[in-house]
Amino acid sequence: METDRGTADIQTLPTLAVWKFASCDGCQLTLLDCEDELLGLTEQVRIEHFLEMSGAEGPGGGRAELAGRGPYDLSLVEGSITTAEDAERIQHIRRISRRLVTIGACATAGGIQALRNFGDVDEFRAAVYARPDYISTLETSTPVSAHVPVDFELRGCPIDRRQLLEVITAHLAGRKPQIPGHSVCFECKRRGTTCITVAHGTPCLGPVTHAGCGAICPAYGRGCYGCFGPTARPNLRSMIAQLRRDGMSETDILRVFRTFNAASPEYAPVADLAAEEQDTPRAGTENEPERPV
């Protein structure tokens, strides 16, 4: 039947789309960082929409196809929702995607731009722009799951290349991605890294941080700073006590949780707890050094 078998094969491949919202492009770039696997991958899936890599989709080079046509078998979504237009666009993308997977801290937890959720966005606008009245943006930065149902969330700021390949492969095989929900501590043990908290008293968020990075920071002599976001059920009370024992000030504790996954529901109580501590009047602390170390 088929006259051109090559073309027929390409046409029957599952389709992949990659979308960007408010973000740094790092998680999309992770796909292009799969140097050894990239060309092989394109023989397994047809990349239909991926603006960072291709303008191929649609008649006219996809120029009028900003929102995509679909349907796509798998959509990878990077970035958080921060504008009214994007809140509409994600609805459209959900409609044209069979499975929708968020990639990275922005799409999964609102990203660093969710720091606006804790402040007054008007003040931010005024601080950055000479003419804040030209700026149109939402008051909050929210994860994709706050807007549409999500099939799977891949954590990390940025995501891990191996985990991304696992998500795509699992999709191709029609199974659930095997992304364990345990903490960075497990990865430290597996890597054979001596616990830097136990050995050196270095403050480390490893116990409450989702695995995936391969426990890089402790291997480089640095405490985990939580860029992969929370584990399934983090024991925050215990963590916060440990961080205090390791010499972190209340301000430092608040800051370390208020970074790349600040708006995740699991971390929010920590921030509130630290914030409460801070609000308690403590006379004469303003000029004290932050931390004895």
Binding site: G26, E35, L39, L51, E52, R116
Partner: protein
């Protein structure tokens, strides 16, 4: 105004660039009347939420402005804070930083050359299509890119948002022998990079000449990457003494303004349109290229950089990038060869009430940071000027010029499709980093 003779070309989604942007082009009869790069990336307010953070935090936080050049952000941020605190990082620590930066140049340039830009010259939609008939070239590009990433992984822990960089130096420095495997890969990458220079030099380049002023760091004796004095020149102005100013004075010369009709801040250098990035760097630093890179440049038809020849055809920027990959590979090899592990991974950087500035050469051009610190190190002000915001006006001028040249040749009959493709190419020449440009941009879209 005749509607019959007016057409508007809209490029709603610019592909194969970092970040998201659109182009609005108005053509009246056979004259381009408007070319506007429109950036619709949502603003992310980095400068605003840096305020109130500790002086140790900007390297990690500002890295998140861009996944493609996080090291550039980390290096400019560290430098600005160290400058405020009166600390100079030199010796092996500075060399390691430069090595890390070479990794980013190699990775980012290889990505742009092979995956984003080359398809333009070969009439392919993307690298996947390109790989169908030039698989070896794409694989070579991926191999070079992987070598850049290997440096980032070894020194930084991971290629995107490296974790090992801190104010004052690193959390951990490698022993000499840990870098040896990198040297082996880099020697292979040198052959690949030279092959890439030959590959791109044989592309067909439209005739074009740009006349923007150029701004790059100048670090006499070596090709500027992580340090130097901001130096401005005009491409045809071979004045023996180009204009120079100290990094802390940059904001007296570079003015950004927010204008209602545009979605982006536009920058001017002493009131003039200017360009930063590979063409500017090459014009200002070409005579300090490594001999192997200089020879590759000569063979590629760029003239003699050691004699001060410059490249003013923006379409040939891909050749300059390829030469810069050779340069970064040679520089990385030199650093590894000469490296001795420093006694401590970082210098102490004690906070004080001060203002500090830092500027380095991101792959796409000069990246400037300024921070004001309170006594305890809390940031009270932050200002970041990324390359693409500076280049925006020059990019628009290049688009306008390229389209006009096409109209002059073909008259009003020029096909919309062809003009649009030309616009995309003129923009990609500059490898714009739109997430960087948009960390503070207005997104209001003006439509007529």
């Amino acid at each position: 105004m005749s509607h019959r003779g007016t057409r508007v070309l809209r490029l709603d989604a610019l592909a194969r660039v970092e970040g998201e942007a659109a182009l609005h082009l108005r053509v009246q009869e056979d004259t381009v009347t408007e070319a506007r790069l429109r950036i619709y990336e949502p603003p992310r307010f980095f400068e605003a939420f840096l305020i109130g953070r500790a002086h140790t935090e900007p390297p990690d936080i500002t890295a998140r402005i861009c996944g493609i050049c996080p090291v550039a952000y980390q290096m400019s941020a560290c430098q600005a804070i160290e400058n405020a605190c009166g600390v100079t990082v030199d010796g092996p620590l500075a060399e390691l930083r430069r090595l890390l930066y070479c990794g980013e140049w190699i990775e980012s340039h290889a990505l742009h050359i092979h995956l984003l830009h080359a398809p333009d010259f070969l009439g392919r939609a993307d690298a996947v299509e390109l790989a169908r008939d030039q698989r070896a070239a794409v694989e070579r590009g991926l191999r070079i890119k992987q070598t850049g990433n290997a440096i980032l992984e070894q020194l930084g822990g991971r290629p995107i948002h490296p974790v090992n960089v801190r104010v004052g130096g690193f959390y951990r420095t490698p022993a000499r022998e840990e870098l040896r495997p990198l040297a082996e890969r880099l020697r292979q990458a040198r052959d690949d990079a030279l092959e890439t220079v030959r590959w791109v030099a044989a592309f067909d380049f439209p005739d074009a000449t740009s006349d923007h002023d150029l701004l790059a760091l100048c670090d006499p004796g070596r090709y500027a990457i992580d340090s130097g004095t901001p130096t401005a020149t005009a491409p045809h102005d071979r004045t023996p003494t180009p204009r120079e100013f100290a990094v802390p004075d940059l904001e007296q010369h570079v003015h950004e303004e927010q204008v209602p009709h545009s979605t982006a801040l536009t920058a001017a250098l002493d009131g003039r349109r200017y360009l930063t990035g590979p063409l500017a760097r090459y014009a200002i630093n070409g005579r300090w290229l490594h001999p192997v890179a200089a020879e590759a440049a000569r063979d590629a038809g760029l003239g003699d950089p050691l004699a001060g020849d410059v490249c003013d055809n923006p379409f040939r920027s891909i050749v300059v990038r390829a030469v810069e990959v050779v340069q970064a590979v040679e520089e990385a090899l030199r650093i590894i060869r000469e490296y001795e592990q420093p006694p401590r991974p970082a210098l102490d950087v004690l906070p004080r009430k001060a203002v500090g500035t830092g500027a380095t050469e991101a792959p796409r051009g000069l990246l400037y940071h300024r921070y004001a610190l309170a006594e305890d190190g809390t940031l009270t002000a932050a200002r970041i000027i990324p390359p693409t915001a500076q280049n925006q006006t020059a990019i628009e001028a290049d688009v306008r010029r390229a389209v006009q040249a096409c109209l002059n040749r073909l008259g009003p009959a020029a096909d919309d499709e062809e003009l649009t493709r030309l616009c995309e190419r003129a923009i990609r020449n500059h490898d714009p980093c739109i997430s960087c440009a948009a960390h503070f941009l207005d997104l209001t879209v003006e439509r007529t």
